[in-house]
Symmetry: C2
Subunit: 129 residues, 2 copies
């Protein structure tokens, strides 16, 4: 199967499939003409990657998750730790963003938002510690 069809079947772009290969997440067989050739098992790998990326796992984590996925003797504890570490990172970033959003929303609530120039948002950006 061509990379184009593999892309359609996996939901990834051909560009990204090549990228993941360059990053060592999979290795595609090559035909005599140099074209990559994908089997069903490869599609499963590509879909796995897509799902992991949809959950924002960094490629480094995806690499480890794939290794565990392929390893029948893995310990589920290892998978769980990767996932929970990632959850913690996601939540930390999300909380940081919401704190910024709250702060800005608060400032915006006190801003007239009309033609007048005075603006607590600019005041705050000017004065903060």
């Amino acid at each position: 199967m061509n990379i184009g069809e593999a892309a359609r079947r996996s939901g990834l772009s051909a560009k990204m499939i090549r990228h993941y290969e360059a990053e060592g997440l999979l290795t595609a067989r090559r035909l005599a003409n140099g074209y990559r050739d994908y089997a069903e098992a490869d599609i499963a790998v590509l879909r796995f990657i897509r799902h992991a990326r949809a959950l924002a796992f960094p490629l480094e984590d995806v690499r480890r998750l794939l290794a565990l996925w392929r390893d029948r003797h893995r310990a589920s504890a290892d998978v769980r730790r990767i996932a929970l570490d990632h959850v913690a990172a996601l939540e930390a970033k999300a909380e940081a963003m919401q704190a910024m959003a709250r702060s800005l929303r608060h400032l915006a609530a006190h801003c007239h938002g009309d033609a007048r120039p005075d603006c607590p948002i600019l005041d705050e950006l000017e004065k903060l510690p």
Copy 2:
């Protein structure tokens, strides 16, 4: 004032100050020897940038906010719109991240997390749509 002292006074790194200048956020006077020379007003600008960046405004937004800040005839509505658009972006990203975190936490809760290999996290990554 040297870039080193400007860095100390503004809380930015010298590297970033040069970068912001390259990005057109400010223009520093030069001494005869080529060194950048900063006045008090420049420090205020640099601190403004730092505060805006601390709220995760992208440099493009910082550029616009600075322009409004310098414009005494600005309309506070313009500032407010930039801020609220940014708030919306922050909240959207934060919500997306928390949705992923919730989803993963849920999966992790059903994972034994011991030496056994079976793991709903991997199952889900394998099976998702």
